[in-house]
Symmetry: C2
Subunit: 330 residues, 2 copies
């Protein structure tokens, strides 16, 4: 079935889409109520976040926009130490989209939500003119334990910076798809619940966590460094990149430090927690390649920054991503 403007009317055709696709896949009591708004159990301290997903193509090696839109929002909740609980989804569908494609995407959302332990509690569908594209916004709510305060202003001198795995896979996948290049690279899109909940369960002290998405590692670390007003020294040769992505980057002149990922995070914590944390992360789902990549340092210049020491003892200061990166990467 081809999706038309009528499916965005709020009338009979919208109901058909809701009944036939969304309710069937997001099979839970709240969605079945068909209210415009869910009423659900809360908690005295909550986390809340949102992201829109406009990735092109919507299906790619290793995932699709359905998996991505759950992972992205779940990971943002996790990075504040929250237990992800509820997701809302807003579909903006371009006229001409195939309902079979939509079904696949929605199925992928449902599967990923199960993996990430979240319930999809409310949704909305709009149809706009266009060429059959699908965009999805997700917002998420999670519960945060009293006393837990993980944020980017928490860095302390001597803290170690851990990276949960290889850089660049998602970015390289999307770019290769657009260029019709076939290779072995797959997107890393994944929910990081296991990794974070294992760290919290074992009472590891965490100062900051951040998923390494748009803008890449250099951008994310620079933002954190500025928030805490401390420098971060990176060990460039420690930063893990798969050989396939390494070769792909060499070919196209890309820098993995600025490439987007969708299942990687950095964890910044006191030096004495490092070994324990590394061991936990490496045993967790999607954390097997975790390594220490840097350390928090006193600010050396006027402005806090992230830097790499070059082999001859110079300093290469990294900055946030300039320019446009890869449009519609997520």
């Amino acid at each position: 079935m081809i999706i038309t403007m009528a499916h965005g009317s709020g009338g009979a055709f919208t109901s058909e889409l809701i009944d036939e696709i969304f309710v069937k896949e997001f099979d839970n009591e709240t969605v079945k109520e068909l209210e415009d708004c869910a009423v659900i159990q809360g908690s005295t301290r909550i986390a809340m976040t949102t992201d829109s997903f406009v990735v092109k193509p919507i299906e790619y090696p290793g995932g699709d926009i359905g998996r991505l839109c759950i992972c992205g929002t779940v990971n943002d909740l996790l990075m504040r130490g929250a237990k992800p609980k509820y997701i809302t989804c807003g579909f903006i569908i371009e006229e001409g989209a195939d309902s079979e494609t939509l079904k696949k995407i929605v199925h992928s959302m449902a599967e990923t939500a199960k993996e990430a332990g979240v319930i999809i509690v409310a949704g909305d569908t709009k149809v706009i003119d266009g060429n059959g594209g699908i965009m999805i916004n997700t917002a998420g709510v999670g519960f945060v334990k009293e006393g837990l305060d993980i944020k980017s202003t928490n860095l302390q001198v001597g803290d170690q910076v851990l990276l949960s795995g290889n850089l660049g896979d998602h970015h390289a996948t999307i770019l290769a798809s657009r260029m019709n290049i076939t290779n072995s690279i797959k997107s890393d899109n994944a929910p990081l619940n296991d990794l974070v909940s294992n760290l919290l369960k074992e009472n590891v002290t965490i100062h900051t966590m951040r998923d390494v998405t748009r803008g890449g590692l250099a951008t994310v670390l620079t933002e954190i460094s500025r928030s805490s007003n401390l420098d971060i020294k990176l060990e460039e040769n420690k930063i893990p990149v798969s050989s396939a992505v390494h070769d792909f980057c060499g070919l196209l002149g890309l820098d993995p430090l600025y490439m987007g990922n969708e299942g990687k995070c950095i964890v910044v914590l006191p030096k004495e927690e490092t070994e324990k944390a590394l061991e936990i992360i490496r045993k967790s789902n999607y954390g097997e390649n975790a390594v220490v990549i840097g350390e928090v340092k006193e600010k050396a210049e006027d402005k806090a920054c992230v830097y790499i020491e070059t082999e001859i003892g110079g300093k290469r200061i990294l900055d946030v991503l300039q320019g446009e990166g890869l449009p519609r990467i997520c």
Copy 2:
């Protein structure tokens, strides 16, 4: 400034947009933290909802997409008896949009959020190819008192159906704007906090509330009638429509029963509560034209329905909106 793909990169240009427009307008402690996810005070029972807004044109008499995207989500929360608290916003901006327009829209969001008593706690910005359009998703969280259970399966025979004001204004405004017709009609986009909180404060028993948006009154009431498996008898001559909208509909052959509104709701409640509720709503903001428009009846046929008695004693059964209505009305 013209917005380009670089503003969606997650790097320096995105930061500029966030600092210069969003943080300035959404001036609160949570937004200033610049985290990807907000950690905020919760409650043991919460309501959660989402809507995307793709209205065209984005500015129209009486409002704009900024006002609309706050009202729509706030009203969905209110309809379940929740006190609206937090809003997230996901911007999808088409390349070529003017940052001055974006500023106006964001200012309008900030003003409406103030009026509606909600805080904008998190956001996201994506830039896509296109022609300078702006789309916004909002998700909302509200707090719900224990024991309060307002939902569409609650109807009881004899319940009265109240409508908070005139029908058709938003739909007529958008259509007139697209047709370049100048008239006195303005959108009704408004947050209904005052009306709902006054009803709850006075302990009025409410069975169901629903804002009358896409699909119009006929669609919304049919959905409720089916959920409760009871008929609703409407008094057609009681349904309020302004003379300007009445004339506009006559000219174009539109039916106000199927026209979208953005600041109107129906309240269904026990007969003995009607007079008290009417008085409260009429004294509340945006409720001055409230009237009783119908009554809940035993189901007469196999399928529950909404109907109007014709002058000669026949029955006109209403259904949900068929076809596409007015695309991109909200």
